[in-house]
Symmetry: C2
Subunit: 212 residues, 2 copies
DNA sequence: GCGTAACCCTACGCACGAGTAGGTATGCTC
DNA sequence: GAGCATACCTACTCGTGCGTAGGGTTACGC
């Protein structure tokens, strides 16, 4: 008998999720380096060796967090923006899903993302994810352009897509820092900037530097 | 007599700059945490206690780096974009100066910037700088709007400005990672996205979400 | 030429936190 | 109810790197 253990034994799959939840929370509050495995373990209501047994080293744990959150986000977006819709509709639904996701996982996503940019071991991981997004956006632009019988250099396409993705990430940061803000409205604002700007380009309007 | 010291004694002001140069270099290569004070000292051709004597702790040193680079950048921009020019001209010159600066300080600026976002002690510092930029951009938009007799809510203005600044930072990252790219061309591309998109807004064109 | 202040060094203390060794209890199978 | 795998723990080791103590040497004023 003796005193029953303060908390129950749980199957591995459950504990792993609890640990990941705790890890995301602590990493986002403290940053990768300042976060300690002890604090993560404590927050998960478990002892440190368990974390090592299930999720491996600190780096591996962080990567696991990145993967889980990244996959969730990608699924949210992909599920909303079906590829057979017209470009503006796709863009709109994708943006709405994206900002909705960020709004629902404010501290989790935003800070994880901010973290990963800085730390070299993970920056690559992130860059790959972003590159995929850029490619999708560039593809949408290209598609819309061809539909209008126009065409611009691939590099310009990529850079414009890059700028749009950057603007979106930036607004996501803003959203994460403004809990009172509405994700839907933010998506609308972004759609305005993106679609109007891109729309001009699509119609062949360009700005040229003055000769000075 | 004895062997003359391998390298000369130098006045404080000079050594401080050498240390800052080294610190920027090492911080940007390794990241804030992975950078060691020993490596910075060695790279500056000096011993560690000197660094502590002149620039203080690691955090203070990093802040000093941020300040120097940030001030340089702000001056480059402010010097180019005189406030009495028309809005499009100001925007163009500001962008050109900005990308020119990033191009000239690629590893220094970009990675310092990427670093500071993630580490909590410095994120605030950076956010302040960005907020100033956003305010300037928002002011330009507002000015241009009023000149056309139009007006939009301050919050929308701020968000659009935020998106533009985000897009610009994103392209700066891209530029820092593409050494072969031309800052001037990048500025032109950004100007296209920004001015065309903003121009639409200025003329009262807006996008509205479909009722679904 | 002598004090004093600025410049600079070698060598260490010490805390913090990642990762582990080795052992205990619980439940499941047959 | 014996055996065994799985869940879980306390209590350590040990490297790494920040920050400093304490002491030398060169220049400069007077």
């Amino acid at each position: 008998m003796s005193t029953p253990p303060a908390f129950k034994r749980l199957p591995r799959a459950v504990r792993e999720q609890q640990m990941l939840d705790a890890a995301v929370k602590v990493f986002s509050r403290r940053g990768f380096h300042a976060a300690s495995m002890d604090e993560i373990a404590e927050d998960a209501g478990i002892s440190k060796p368990m974390v090592y047994a299930y999720l491996g080293t600190k780096e591996e744990l962080f990567v696991a967090c990145l993967h889980r959150e990244g996959t969730r986000m990608m699924q949210a977006i992909a599920g909303a923006a079906a590829p057979d819709l017209p470009a503006d509709e796709r863009l709109w639904r994708g943006l709405r899903a994206f900002f909705g996701f960020v709004g629902a996982h404010r501290d989790g996503w935003a800070v994880l993302y901010r973290q990963a940019r800085g730390e070299q071991p993970f920056a690559g991981e992130l860059a790959t994810m972003r590159a995929r997004l850029v490619e999708v956006v560039a593809g949408m632009l290209d598609h819309a352009l061809r539909a209008e019988g126009r065409e611009i250099a691939a590099i310009d396409l990529e850079v414009v897509a890059y700028a749009l993705v950057g603007a979106t990430e930036s607004l996501a940061d803003w959203l994460a820092d403004h809990p009172e803000a509405d994700p839907e409205r933010t998506a609308t604002r972004m759609m305005n900037v993106a679609w109007l700007g891109a729309g001009q380009l699509l119609h062949g309007v360009t700005w040229r530097p003055p000769a000075d």
